[in-house]
Assembly symmetry: C2
Amino acid sequence: VSRRYRLAVLIEDADRARVWLEALRRAVPDWQVDDGRRVAAADQVDFVVLWGRAEGLSRFTHLRAILSLGAGVDHVLRDPDLPREVPLIRMVDPGLACGMVEYVSCHVLRHHLGAPSLERSQREQRWTTVTPQLAHERTVGIMGLGAMGSACATRLTQFGFQVVGWSRTRKSLAGVTVHAGRHELPAFLARSEILVCLLPLTEDTRDILDAGLCARLPRGAAIINAARGEHLVEDDLLAALDAGQISGATLDVFRVEPLPQGHPFWQHPCISVTPHVASLTRPGSGAQSIVRSISSLLAGESPPGLVNQEAGY
Amino acid sequence: VSRRYRLAVLIEDADRARVWLEALRRAVPDWQVDDGRRVAAADQVDFVVLWGRAEGLSRFTHLRAILSLGAGVDHVLRDPDLPREVPLIRMVDPGLACGMVEYVSCHVLRHHLGAPSLERSQREQRWTTVTPQLAHERTVGIMGLGAMGSACATRLTQFGFQVVGWSRTRKSLAGVTVHAGRHELPAFLARSEILVCLLPLTEDTRDILDAGLCARLPRGAAIINAARGEHLVEDDLLAALDAGQISGATLDVFRVEPLPQGHPFWQHPCISVTPHVASLTRPGSGAQSIVRSISSLLAGESPPGLVNQEAGY
């Protein structure tokens, strides 16, 4: 990469914008990296690095690509300011998948070991001896087998868990029983004692975690949603928890974030709320990943994370 | 194994005794397996399978071996009824290590991801955005590198954690920085942001988790004790938590079990209490393990788990 390319960072939050400006300037010291909110000659910018909404993007008239700092681009694609003809690349950062593997492993193990019920016993000072099942006696279902879902599924097989996966198109993954398409969803759900949602948000997957889905899971199943709040029909989850069909849920994402004060999830005894921390793009490795994507694009290749705007991810 | 050997199961709890009688009869249908609490002709019994105290053991005068159902044999060795000349074999069950790996991974990840603090935020309905460190930026220290400690250390390296280990005699373990002996303990502790105790209980290790040890850990370290309650000086832990030197603890074992009502651990906001469930011997795989040990002993070999009564484990 010889030419002096121009990058603009378009992030609303000033602190976050500064962190990314610094990280990118360190990663490509010979390029010009500007704050996109107040850049001069926007028409000469080659690449925009974007977090959140695309407001102001229309000023950048000669872009070669737009790079999103998140793994999910549903909100970017919904934005009327997004120029459809410019390649959109979402973050495929090894650090992003590492964080997700840590989060999902932690919370799958928590449900597997009955930790929520042991935590209630502690609050009541009750010594309850139980013999938890071993991982090889437990089936975990992963919805979505992209970079994150595949990495999580593989780690869980290392614990001995039976792992089943489900995705739109059929994937192949060592040690994982794979289901594909809507017609195979019931068979997948029937086996998933712990269900992990890592799907992209599309019109097909919005509201997929609903009453019908809960009813098809084994009684007492647990649900972990680390994808998007819009995947989950909140009232359906609350009803399934009340009915005992679902025993517990761990939720990292919500329809409204931050989760509003007084929302019933906060104080529900069977719901763990985490503040959208399952998988965060780290500036250091994230900047490297952006540079790799741009280099690959300039070399005429199709970089990992290039968004299929039809499919929506 | 051709002769019709005689086994006696010596377990105080009647339910647990019945479960093990059934499991062993299934495992060796051609041997005679009796309840040791009411066996006739105790002097003709070849092997005793023991859980808990050894009371009544002196009646078995012609034993070839005693097989303990637990991985820890400190309480058996303290028992005056234990015949010192009979080989004592402790449980080395793959299921036992699997359960421990699941427990330790779950609780290391919980501390690593700041789950205890996120749980407090949830109770206060506070949305606290944090960027947790990734596993490769975190060092976990494992005290005790026997079957359990080694299995846990290896699994943690798969997450990318920096893993350091400490044991009485020097071990070698791929991907793990190993320390040995008392003089290397300070160097090991100085690196351990999350400390996991999986030591055998001996006169050398009793009370090892004390004020001096806490002071040598990095400030804000977490402690997980899944070994024996007697490893931990309870008041020292409480003081180190009050001082902020230790940020949290997960305890599965206690000096008195069940943990008595009103004990300060139950309601401490930084302590997770679990009721001695980290690693339980499962009758199915445990019975197989006992049969393997006996066969190995009869073949003149030294079975895994043969206790060195001098060393105490």
